[in-house]
């Protein structure tokens, strides 16, 4: 069986529609919205601020805490039970690990930067959308970063390699499916997140990572534009 055409008619290396906005939450020190298709992510950054309990403090540098949360009726399937789950805990962890390589918190010993990622509506690729939103929110919060982080999922449905799987592709019945979320630092091209669900050959993996690069660059441009738009016309 082959997968000839994508269900929503996109090209195989074409991501869904991308939108981004910075400064969406006023009370936060930095915030951003990132939307890819029907997946919406909002990220709010608070801090650097005082960290308690004290045993979590690191006297060498500040720490980063991420919190990924899907809203109860955000997905197309069952109601997600509110509060943390095993899944959200894992995604919070990988998000923090994907963002840490760009972030420099040496100037903030014993403190914490909190990132809250809320997903009001999801349709696959939510951790990638969350990472994209969080990296913009961290930049908006004025933290020292050597680069932004862009993320997208790539994968395979039957014999076809494709970029940015939506839910119908991720759960395509009766064919082998691989879902590979990746996050990169766009200027150096280094990878900060690489996970895989499913099976894929080594050659296919290399090829599909290359395919993802183009979509990631598109995402980077959208992120950059959103950040510049918020501060457009600012003078000092």
């Amino acid at each position: 069986m082959t997968y000839k055409q994508r269900i929503d008619g996109r090209g195989f290396d074409e991501p869904r529609k991308i939108e981004a906005k910075v400064g969406v939450i006023q009370r936060a020190d930095g915030s951003a919205m990132f939307r890819i298709g029907n997946t919406w992510a909002y990220a709010a950054v608070y801090g650097p601020r005082n960290l308690h309990p004290k045993f979590l403090q690191d006297p060498q540098k500040g720490i980063l805490r991420c919190n990924y949360n899907m809203m109860p009726f955000s997905s197309s399937g069952e109601r997600v039970r509110p509060g943390g789950s095993r899944r959200s805990k894992e995604i919070s962890l990988v998000t923090a690990k994907a963002l840490l390589p760009v972030l420099n918190l040496d100037e903030y010993p014993n403190s914490v930067v909190d990132v809250f990622i809320e997903l009001p509506q999801t349709e696959a690729g939510s951790r990638c959308a969350g990472i994209c939103a969080a990296s913009m929110a961290l930049a908006d919060a004025g933290l020292e970063m050597k680069d932004l982080v862009c993320a997208v999922s790539v994968g395979r449905v039957a014999d076809k390699l494709l970029v940015d799987l939506d839910y119908s592709e991720e759960s395509y019945p009766d064919v082998p499916v691989a879902d590979i979320p990746i996050a990169i630092m766009p200027n150096s091209g280094k990878i900060t997140l690489l996970q895989m669900d499913g099976e894929v050959k080594k050659e296919e993996l290399m090829k599909v990572l290359e395919m993802g690069k183009k979509a990631l660059m598109d995402i980077y441009e959208v992120q950059k534009k959103a950040l510049k738009e918020k501060y457009h016309g600012v003078e000092v």
Binding site: Y108, Y231, V236
Partner: protein, 227 residues
């Protein structure tokens, strides 16, 4: 010959290449990566001769030696007071920096500064571990009585103060309030209640429109209309 890619006064995002070549020097908020000078944060590009630096546009207050700030007393200890500085770190004010009065051994320190009091103080030292020492010895450093304290974006404090304090003097004259602006983004306002509200309204307007040119004239107009 090196090439500067960005324009002066442009917004730059983290990771963006600002210039290529070894003739240009990386200033604050930038770093060098091989031939390139790269932005290290979100900021406004300032090209000053051969150096490129970024001026921060957002972010929490970072304590710096010499800043005059408004703090809230959060704890009273044996030999001093702990103060909330509106940043990630609290400050310590020791007995001998607190007042020129004589304080007897074992005196009740709350009679000088009690919990919840706001004070104007100066940062004398910040260590690498961000331990902050403040002092009350200096002109204008005092305990704030009455009035109200509002919080603004610390990056907009220079705009609220204006050149040589022109903006804040204008608000003071128009509202007949006494106003003290802390570098940490806390502002104390004391006057007639209605005038206090007008002063707050004006400050919020400055905060919102801080990037527009001709701000002083606009605020002047605003204050005259409200009179």
């Amino acid at each position: 010959m090196s090439k500067i890619i960005v324009k002066d006064k442009e917004i730059s995002v983290p990771g963006e290449t600002l210039a290529i070549g070894m003739d240009t020097l990386p200033g604050a908020g930038t770093y060098r990566e091989g031939e390139r000078i790269v932005a290290n944060r979100l900021g406004l590009v300032m090209i000053d001769g051969r150096t490129i630096k970024l001026i921060p546009l957002s972010g929490r207050y970072i304590p710096k030696t010499g800043d005059t700030i408004i703090c809230k007393v959060i704890d009273v200890g044996f030999n001093g007071w702990r103060l909330d500085t509106n940043s990630a770190y609290s400050a310590m004010m020791s007995l001998k920096d607190a007042t020129s009065e004589f304080i007897a051994r074992g005196a009740n320190l709350t009679q000088y500064y009690d919990l919840g009091d706001y004070i104007v103080c100066k940062i004398v030292n910040v260590t690498s571990q961000k331990l902050i020492d403040v002092s009350m010895k200096g002109p204008g450093l005092r305990k704030l009585k009455g009035g109200r304290v509002i919080e603004v974006d610390p990056n907009k404090v220079p705009r609220i103060i204006g050149k040589q304090g022109s903006m804040v003097i204008m608000i003071k004259d128009a509202t007949k309030c006494s106003i003290t602006v802390g570098q940490n983004g806390l502002i104390w306002i004391d006057g007639e209640p209605m005038n206090e509200l007008l002063a707050i309204q004006t400050i919020r307007k400055i905060e919102k429109e801080s990037h527009l040119s001709g701000l002083t004239d606009k605020i002047k107009e605003f204050l005259e209309k409200k009179k």
